[in-house]
């Protein structure tokens, strides 16, 4: 005991054994490397969907202009999407008026966007929500392309559409 004390004092410095700490640190590092999974870059589309009993399932059969004239308090713009057997879009109708037909390609999406812009650009039309009646066979990815177009639309007050809902045909 006495000799060790003397040795330490002779050396003038205390040297810790870092090997054990390094072992532990490497084990921790290995754990973190093996469990490392970077978070995917995902976005979210927030929807407030009421219970099925509350959703308006009635799709108006009147032409758009007549509908607006006769129902000035109209709030819901109805879209209807029909799918082909392979799950792609066959036809998209806006207020029962066929807007695009065939699979959703850039031309068709632009046509739908122009159509919706024309509708929402009319300040006297009080739409503030969109309800999409969707064919059950339609692929979810195709539906989301249509939702994306709808979500881009701006209301008369400059705000983008927040209220989008779905029902199954």
């Amino acid at each position: 005991m006495r000799r060790r004390h003397k040795n330490c004092r002779d050396q003038g410095s205390v040297e810790m054994n870092l090997a054990a700490m390094l072992d532990m640190a490497f084990q921790l590092l290995t754990f973190f490397i093996l469990t490392f999974r970077p978070a995917p870059i995902e976005g979210q589309l927030a929807l407030n969907l009421p219970s099925p009993g509350i959703v308006d399932r009635g799709v108006p059969a009147l032409p758009l202009q007549r509908l607006v004239d006769e129902q000035p308090d109209l709030e819901i713009l109805h879209l209807q999407v029909v799918a082909d057997p392979s799950g792609d879009v066959k036809e998209v109708s806006v207020e029962k008026s066929a807007t695009i037909s065939g699979p959703l390609k850039s031309g068709n999406l632009q046509a739908l966007e122009r159509n919706l812009q024309a509708i929402f650009g009319q300040k006297h039309i009080p739409y503030d929500r969109v309800q999409i009646a969707v064919d059950g066979q339609l692929h979810y990815g195709e539906l989301m392309k249509i939702v994306d177009v709808c979500a881009h639309q701006k209301l008369a007050d400059g705000e983008t559409i927040q209220r989008i809902s779905f029902i199954e045909l």
């Binding site: 870092l18 995902e42 976005g43 009421p50 059950g136 881009h152």
Partner: protein, 149 residues
């Protein structure tokens, strides 16, 4: 001279330890504990208007993965949707009751359901999941999508 005479060579481990601790710090900061509940095999739809989820409050959202066949995974495991949602809703109501803020009125639960559905899933399968959640009082939904291809 005395170092040269010593029997063993002791490398200076301090820089190595510094570097390892820096790496550990980096991995600790970027670790994603919720990653286990995400089904990374799903091909999410692309939605340019998708935004990061604004999550505030103590209540964790309910995350459901729906593959192209309509199978639902939650917490990394395949589950039956009806019992799972019923159990989650029941537990949430108990939790809210215990916290002194019981569910009132129409029974709307103040928790968001995050749905990560494969882009190839038929809408009716995704809609079934949404309908089950609606039937148990969930009203706030968040559909996951990639912001770009």
């Amino acid at each position: 001279m005395s170092e040269m005479n010593s029997d063993k060579a002791e490398p200076n481990l301090t820089p190595l330890l510094d570097m390892v601790f820096q790496l550990i710090t980096f991995f600790m900061l970027v670790i994603n504990f919720k990653g286990a509940s995400l089904d990374m095999s799903l091909k999410l739809p692309v939605l340019g208007s998708a935004r990061p989820l604004e999550h505030s409050g103590k209540l964790e959202p309910l995350l459901l993965n729906v593959d192209a066949e309509g199978n639902v995974k939650a917490g990394g495991q395949s589950v039956e949707i009806e019992p799972l949602v019923a159990r989650e809703a029941s537990m949430l109501k108990e939790q809210l009751k215990f916290a002194g803020t019981p569910v009132e009125g129409d029974g709307t639960l103040p928790v968001t359901v995050i749905i990560r559905a494969d882009r190839g899933a038929p809408f009716k399968l995704v809609n079934q999941v949404i309908t089950v959640c609606q039937n148990h009082g969930y009203r706030k939904f968040s559909l996951s999508a990639m912001t770009k291809e």
